[in-house]
């Protein structure tokens, strides 16, 4: 697979895996509004993922479509960020994971508006407005939980401490990204860190949460080396298709 196809597939996988995680909340969120909110964010991410998966399949040129890529790849062939496969935990954990992702994705889509890959640029143009909307939702909750009761503050502060180390991966450049960036297709992850720091810093300050320090801790989900959680998620997501190959509605 070329760096171009791999780059597109990474973006598709992060969206797809997070959409699946958010889908696990359907019927279980603390209030109807949050049930709708998480499901709607999930749908947007899934819609973007479908276009990106189909595009990655075309670039790969081996005849794999969105379904083959989503349902028939093993864990080590998934290239999503490790952050998005982390379990839902409580609502605060889910919202913090979403907030960190949204703040990153908004910067990413802004940068991809000028991509020489027309499909990526189109997904970015539509996704930018959606990511901004998602960030307003997740950021609003981070603020309310952080600046809420002693209990909500303590719990969401713990969520932040637990999830923050996974953000390191979002800003480390590797060969795939360097090649995509040089070709004008993609953007260097390191170039996105400034906007992310500004966006998260502002909200965390209003939420009375301190930004955790950088750690040496680093994951490589985008290179196919995942935490222990992704395998279970894929087993559930792929079970129907593997039991009934080619099943359709």
């Amino acid at each position: 697979m070329t760096p171009h196809a791999r780059y597109v597939l990474r973006l598709a996988d992060s969206n797809l895996v997070l959409a699946q995680r958010l889908g696990e909340w359907a019927g279980h969120a603390p209030a109807l509004e949050e049930d709708l909110g998480l499901a709607n964010v999930s749908l947007d991410l899934l819609g973007q993922a479908r276009i990106l998966l189909a595009h990655a399949g075309q670039l790969e040129g081996r005849g794999r479509g969105e379904d083959e890529l989503a349902y028939l790849r093993e864990e080590s062939e998934y290239y999503n960020l490790t952050l998005v496969e982390q379990p839902n935990g409580d609502f605060g954990d889910t919202i913090m994971r979403q907030f960190l992702f949204d703040a990153w994705q908004l910067g990413l889509y802004e940068a991809l508006l000028g991509s020489s890959d027309a499909t990526l640029a189109a997904v970015a143009a539509k996704g930018r407005g959606e990511a901004a909307y998602h960030l307003r939702y997740s950021g609003g909750w981070v603020e309310r939980l952080g600046d809420g009761t002693a209990e909500s503050h303590a719990r969401v502060a713990a969520s932040l401490a637990r999830l923050w180390p996974y953000t390191q991966e979002l800003f480390v450049d590797d060969d795939v990204e360097r090649a995509a960036s040089e070709a004008g297709i993609g953007v260097l992850p390191s170039a996105l860190e400034g906007a992310f720091a500004a966006r998260t810093g502002e909200t965390l300050a209003r939420a009375t949460l301190a930004r955790p320090a950088k750690t040496a801790f680093q994951w490589y989900g985008k290179q196919g080396r995942h935490s222990e959680h992704l395998g279970y998620l894929l087993a559930e997501m792929q079970s129907l298709h593997r039991a009934h190959p080619g099943a359709t509605w």
């Binding site: 509004e33 709708l36 709607n40 749908l43 947007d44 991410l45 189109a122 997904v123 143009a125 996704g127």
Partner: protein, 166 residues
């Protein structure tokens, strides 16, 4: 690539045919908000007539995750086939659809239907579509479909939907 190749061979239909096509699609309703036609929604991007007589309709998806996108495509093709056209639909991703593309008539229809139309800056408060009061508050960023948020009027106390501005 296929689209570009087709576009070279195909031509825009003559005005009278275009008017007829628009007349047909004016009768195709949005599956979630039936007072809007697909033309009001602004998702119909082009018509191209191939030398073989095949009609290509370009359709833009609305919100990325909206399940209605697939239904809209099916309904458009069904209406055109019923009128005797051999039609195919192609996705047009760029430029991306935004809520700004809703027609003026579409905005009026939405308001009359009880849904506040988009257009206000995303953090401003839409006016109540029932009593017109500007004093409204948001109860949920997400509503019953991907295109709507939930608001409440502080004057008449009625809840209402707001067509999200994206």
């Amino acid at each position: 690539m296929a689209v570009a190749a087709r576009a070279r061979a195909a031509t825009t239909p003559p005005p009278e045919l275009l008017a007829r096509l628009r007349g047909i699609l004016a009768q195709v309703a949005d599956p979630e908000i039936p007072v809007l036609s697909v033309l009001d929604l602004g998702v119909i991007r082009h018509f191209l007539l191939g030398p073989d007589g095949k009609l290509e309709v370009g359709i833009s998806p609305t919100y990325s995750g909206c399940p209605a996108n697939a239904v809209i495509k099916t309904d458009v093709l069904r209406a055109l086939c019923a009128a005797g056209f051999d039609a195919v639909a192609v996705d047009v991703l760029a430029p991306a659809w935004s809520s700004d593309w809703l027609s003026e008539e579409g905005r009026r229809k939405l308001e009359a239907y009880g849904i506040a139309p988009p257009g206000a800056p995303s953090d401003a408060r839409p006016a109540c579509p029932r009593c017109g009061s500007a004093s409204t508050s948001r109860t949920s960023e997400f509503g019953s479909t991907p295109c709507k948020a939930l608001y409440r009027c502080d004057a008449c106390l009625e809840p209402f939907d707001y067509f999200k501005c994206i």
